[in-house]
């Protein structure tokens, strides 16, 4: 049975009719849809077990705490982390990157360099600009070659003794490029730089193994991987996390407090001040369970086939340009394209009239758009519920676009 045949019935929203057509949802890279098990787990939590976590000494408090902490264990297994203490639950990828950038920023000195790449999402650019600001620190970027792959030769030239941080996406949210994480991290480590990987577009689609990747920090969101909004993960190698001074204070992140000072709590709670997203953690657990049941190897294979089919069909349409790596193995579940003579937003609006949801615009990656000399693209992205028929419908609709405006 095809993967989408197995999953389709689990996603209630896919029954929606949009503008008179069956919904064809090709915007999972922005946010995925949720299976019924995730929705039910969260509702059940609120209906039966909700209370605040950690210090509520009553039955509900204990249940909520157990459920919240179970999410951490589930994440640890899912990403191949060595210890549960290395898993910090955040509000999402942007939150996780900001947390690390803010804390690392305090350790930077004038003359230091932060190395990012030209294909980053703004959420992996701006926090580093902020960390660099007022400190005499420079942000530099590894260029992207025409085929959408990182210019590894240029990376070697940019990397040096001043490089303190190397931050990059595992999978580009526009080009779909899968970056050579292990290779980049090994080189960065050889000059003593800390590595931060934005896994927002990888965690939902690829099997993950933190040890094999060899990075110091890895960050992703729940809502792109079938889970709810408002929760994400910051994984840090224990020593890397321990070296970070917390920058956000509040309840739960402390052991002892006096009026003028405090002693920090242990990992990972040191980085989780305030009441955490408890129901969202429950939803994340259910999302991971769902993905694990399908098997991440199978998920990756399914989506790779969809991306390959999309590239082939769209390239055959006159006036369509497809961006990103040619080889399917180098590409995640994302295909960006443009149609001659049409603005990306008009492409998306016209496709929406046929029930097809795609993203259009600069995808929060303006430096990358500038590098290709464009203002935006349309983007189709995939998840476990998309079918080969979805891709055919997209290609057919795109082929008819140029006569419509």
């Amino acid at each position: 049975m095809r993967l989408d045949e197995r999953t389709r019935g689990d996603f209630p929203i896919l029954e929606r009719v949009v503008n008179g057509h069956r919904l064809v949802y090709l915007d999972s890279a922005a946010s995925s849809q949720k299976p019924r098990t995730v929705l039910e787990a969260m509702t059940q939590y609120y209906e039966t077990s909700h209370a605040n976590v950690h210090r509520s000494i009553h039955t509900l408090g204990e249940e909520a705490t157990a459920l919240y902490e179970a999410a951490r264990d589930r994440v640890q297994r899912f990403i191949g982390a060595t210890a549960r203490e290395e898993v910090v639950l955040t509000r999402g990828t942007t939150d996780g990157i900001n947390l690390v950038a803010e804390a690392l920023g305090r350790t930077l000195r004038a003359g230091d360099e932060i190395l990012i790449t030209e294909l980053e999402h703004h959420s992996n650019i701006i926090p580093w600009q902020m960390a660099a600001r007022d400190r005499g620190v420079t942000v530099r970027a590894i260029p992207v070659a025409d085929d959408g792959l990182l210019d590894v030769g240029a990376f070697e030239r940019l990397l040096g003794p001043r490089t303190r941080v190397v931050a990059f996406a595992h999978v580009s949210n526009v080009l779909g490029t899968i970056t050579p994480v292990a290779q980049l991290c090994a080189r960065a480590r050889s000059v003593g730089a800390v590595t931060v990987v934005d896994g927002a577009q990888a965690a939902p689609h690829l099997p993950l193994d933190m040890l094999a990747l060899g990075c110091d920090f890895y960050v992703f969101s729940g809502h792109k991987m079938l889970g709810p909004t408002g929760i994400g993960v910051l994984w840090g190698r224990r020593a890397a996390l321990e070296a970070l001074e917390p920058t956000r204070g509040g309840g739960e992140m402390i052991k002892e407090v006096w009026i003028d000072r405090a002693r920090w709590n242990d990992l990972p709670w040191r980085f989780e001040p305030g009441t955490p997203p408890i129901a969202e953690a429950v939803g994340l657990t259910a999302a991971i369970e769902y993905l694990e049941k399908l098997g991440m190897e199978r998920v990756a294979e399914h989506e790779r086939a969809l991306a390959r089919q999309t590239v082939e069909l769209l390239q055959a349409v006159a006036g369509v340009t497809v961006y990103g790596p040619r080889a399917a193995m180098d590409r995640g579940a994302v295909v960006a394209f443009s149609v001659d003579g049409l603005h990306a937003h008009d492409v998306a609006a016209l496709l929406d009239q046929e029930g097809i949801a795609v993203r259009a615009g600069h995808h929060c990656a303006q430096p990358l758009m500038r590098r290709y000399g464009i203002t935006g693209t349309a983007r189709a992205s995939f998840s476990v519920y998309n079918s080969s028929e979805d891709v055919s419908l997209l290609a057919h609709a795109v082929a008819g676009l140029r006569t419509q405006l």
Partner: protein, 126 residues
């Protein structure tokens, strides 16, 4: 695609103005220029104005990188401003433009309509 939906989203006016804008291009000798960007989509519109001796808007042109709705709005905005005293031209509103576009603009695309109007106002303030 149903015919009704097509009319709703992109009116004939939008289509015509997108295909053949009347006010698109450079304006040599422009004395008032403004430009802005729609942060949502990165669209960019630049308005250039020239005035006659009485302070009326003698010429308007726009350039930019914009979608069909934004381009049509810029074209209509330019048309509404041209020939009017500067003070009157500054009173061109989004509602005026919408009345001419005759399309069912969704909230997510409203910025495409308002951007050229605000750029015109900025140019008139310079």
């Amino acid at each position: 695609m149903t015919p009704a939906a097509r009319v709703g989203l992109y009116s004939d006016t939008i289509r015509q103005r997108w295909r053949k804008p009347r006010f698109r291009g450079e304006l040599p000798g422009a004395t008032a220029v403004a430009e802005d960007v729609n942060p949502l989509c990165g669209d960019r519109v630049r308005m250039m104005l020239r005035f006659d001796d009485d302070g009326a808007v003698a010429g308007v042109r726009f350039t930019g990188d914009s979608c069909a709705i934004c381009t049509a709005s810029a074209d209509v905005t330019a048309e509404l401003a041209e020939g009017r005293p500067a003070r009157e031209a500054a009173r061109v509103t989004t509602e005026d433009v919408l009345a001419i576009l005759q399309a069912d603009i969704r909230p997510t695309r409203m910025r495409c309509v308002t951007l050229p109007v605000t750029v015109l106002q900025k140019a008139l303030q310079t």
